[in-house]
């Protein structure tokens, strides 16, 4: 039953059909320490809620009452719990409930209960397809909402249906087209590709790694100063146990202060897309990456690593000066251990 929030509804205390319920005031045993002052509507609704909880009532009007409370205060977790129990007791049509939740969720995306309630409902309906669509829509409103992405992962893992998984890469790509810096989308991609089993067609793991490296390199070329993309690159290499030096040719141009000289158009290195002309260079993450390559190489390369760390500490990433000084100190320890 729809209860438009804007319309004036009489208080429950004034509704004859609620006259049989004994409302219970908020319990305050002592002069309240941090007294909560209620609006009349909220006080009235929660008084009646306490009344029906006491008598253990689970009826359609309880659904109306809990909806009222949730609309005023989505954080009232007892109301959510009781609503769910009532839905189960009444064997209410859960698809209708999900539709109602669609409306509430958009308004209250940052509330845990909204998502948890959906989780409970979908476990009953066993119909995950529309949920993915709902999640995609709500992500249009709040693209990095932590609960929303987590809920999407839960749906995929819980139902573990190839048909559901198969659209995820396209979905992530679309999200990144809107915002290539969406860390949640990058994380989701890693989850889908590397942390949730192997799907049909992806059995050749080397091919998957090559595909992912190509994907992230292209995105770095579009917007180099993007921590999420560089984190993803490192994640893929670490997962595949590939040494960072294999990416040296790609990373090097991003670590230099000037854009590369114009290359003839017929020479396009697909393995190493270049930064665009208006990219802000050097890219800090690329300098870090080159330093890691030199550090891993050891020996004489440690001097190059140190130079790069110094440039970060003193010029390009001064807020992390102490961290870069730590890296320099650590490598000196390694060097002297090696020399000794």
């Amino acid at each position: 039953m729809d209860l438009p929030a804007e319309e004036e509804q009489p208080l429950y205390s004034q509704r004859p059909e609620w006259a049989d319920v004994v409302p219970l005031e908020q319990y305050e045993s002592v002069a309240p320490l941090a007294p909560i002052f209620y609006t009349d509507e909220y006080r009235d609704a929660t008084n009646y809620f306490r009344g029906i909880v006491k008598s253990d009532e689970m009826s359609p009007r309880v659904l109306e009452l809990t909806e009222n409370i949730i609309r005023q205060n989505p954080g009232h977790y007892s109301a959510w719990q009781y609503r769910y129990k009532t839905l189960m007791a009444l064997k209410s049509p859960l698809d209708d409930e999900l539709q109602l939740m669609d409306e509430l969720a958009i308004k209250h995306l940052k509330t845990y209960q909204v998502w948890h309630h959906r989780r409970l409902l979908v476990q009953q309906t066993r119909n995950p397809g529309p949920e993915l669509e709902f999640i995609a829509n709500s992500l249009q409103v709040d693209t990095k909402n932590y609960h929303t992405w987590s809920y999407r992962q839960w749906i995929l893992a819980y139902f573990n249906d190839d048909a559901l998984w198969s659209h995820e890469l396209d979905f992530v790509e679309k999200m990144l087209e809107s915002d290539v810096r969406n860390n949640s989308a990058w994380h989701h991609r890693f989850f889908v590709v590397f942390q949730s089993g192997v799907r049909n067609g992806d059995e050749d793991r080397d091919a998957v790694v090559r595909r992912e490296l190509a994907f992230v390199k292209e995105r770095i070329a579009i917007a180099p100063n993007n921590a999420s993309a560089w984190n993803y690159l490192r994640g893929v290499l670490d997962h595949a146990k590939m040494p960072y030096c294999e990416l040296q040719a790609f990373v090097l141009p991003y670590s230099l202060p000037q854009p590369p000289l114009d290359t003839p158009p017929e020479v396009v290195d697909l393995e190493s897309p270049l930064p665009s002309k208006d990219a802000q260079l050097p890219c800090v993450a690329a300098v870090e990456f080159m330093a890691d390559i030199h550090e891993a190489a050891g020996g004489g390369d440690l001097v190059k690593a140190t130079e790069l760390w110094k440039s970060l500490a003193n010029e390009h990433d001064t807020i992390r000066k102490r961290y870069w000084e730590f890296r320099i100190a650590e490598s000196l320890k390694t060097k002297s251990a090696g020399d000794g």
Binding site: Q26, Y27, I36, W80, Q81, N226, D238, R322
Partner: protein, 324 residues
């Protein structure tokens, strides 16, 4: 632009929370009330003003949140018990030297009953699981001296599953790394003496990357700074003994600039203050060695002396307290 800590104003702000008649936001936060009391008391203790709120009233309020059916504490009288509220209750009573009011056995049973087969913890009977609740459970059991009742291997195994490719931790296995969950997982591992589960170089780097050019800290890559990360990130670094990597003068300046002239700290400069950001801003300042503040234990987010007296101090390091 404020460049010093407005202690009297913050004390007044916290005391006034009890008097506030105006706002809708106060009635909507009944489900957080006991947490708000814990935040308020801890903030006052950091400023050396634990006396500013009435001790007896506070203890009676906490006891009025006891849920006799569940054997634990809720956020507000007549609300259902929750793990988060139970931890806050224990912390408040400890800080008020009244822990003897707690029925320890019942509370321990409640906490343990919320552990799932996966090793994660639900927050309450409703079933939402989150590593925040795992931390609440481990912290509470530790403060009650009942950590031996916990299946440590099972708990640690779940934390391990929440560790991501970037070294960070998420709310559940597979979820994105977030500084708040990095804090709860690292702190829980510290309590359990299992910091070996941390992917050290990667996590250290991930944490130090949270600092933005404006000095503030964010919670995940490419997101905005927020004062609460002054605590989540700083405490994690301090537990890992890497707090020196933060540019502390920049972070301090950022926290101070988020103060409201009339008291309280906001999520970022210019916004309205609230008690949540007030405690975490103050906690950050304490860890950074800001003068005249009381030492805070980052693992438990409580005064360090109380934790030390319980024999629970772990190997964390804050910055040295400056004299001026």
């Amino acid at each position: 632009m404020t460049t010093s800590l407005l202690v009297p104003q913050h004390v007044a702000y916290i005391r006034a929370l009890g008097d506030s008649k105006h706002e809708l936001s106060y009635h909507l936060s009944a489900h957080l009330k006991i947490n708000a009391v814990y935040w308020s008391l801890t903030a006052l203790l950091i400023m050396g003003r634990g006396d500013a709120l009435d001790r007896d009233e506070m203890i009676e309020f906490v006891m009025s949140c006891w849920d006799e059916e569940a054997g634990a504490f809720s956020a507000h009288p007549d609300h259902d018990a929750h793990l988060r509220s139970t931890l806050s209750a224990i912390q408040i009573l400890l800080m008020q030297n009244a822990l003897n009011r707690v029925d320890v056995d019942r509370v321990v049973n409640y906490i343990l009953s919320l552990q799932q087969p996966s090793g994660s913890f639900a927050g309450d009977a409703f079933g939402e699981t989150d590593t925040r609740f795992l931390y609440c459970a481990v912290n509470a059991l530790s403060l009650l001296g009942k950590l031996d009742k916990l299946d440590v291997e099972k708990t640690v195994a779940y934390i391990r599953r929440c560790r991501n490719f970037d070294g960070g931790f998420g709310a559940v296995a597979g979820a994105e790394s977030h500084a708040s969950r990095v804090f709860v997982c690292v702190a829980a591992l510290a309590i359990l003496d299992r910091l070996d589960e941390v992917d050290q170089p990667t996590l250290y780097w991930w944490l130090s990357e949270r600092q933005l050019p404006n000095g503030g800290l964010n919670g995940r890559p490419e997101k905005l700074e927020d004062i609460c990360y002054s605590f989540w990130v700083s405490s994690a670094l301090s537990i890992l003994d890497k707090l020196t990597w933060i540019d502390s003068s920049e972070l301090e300046a950022f926290i101070l600039s988020a103060q409201a002239e009339s008291g309280g700290i906001a999520d970022r400069p210019g916004d309205r203050p609230d008690v949540f950001h007030t405690i975490f801003g103050l906690a950050g300042l304490s860890l950074l060695g800001y003068p005249a503040l009381v030492d805070l234990d980052p693992v438990y987010c409580m005064p360090a002396s109380i934790i030390e007296n319980l024999g629970l101090r772990k190997g964390w390091k804050a910055l040295q307290r400056r004299t001026s």
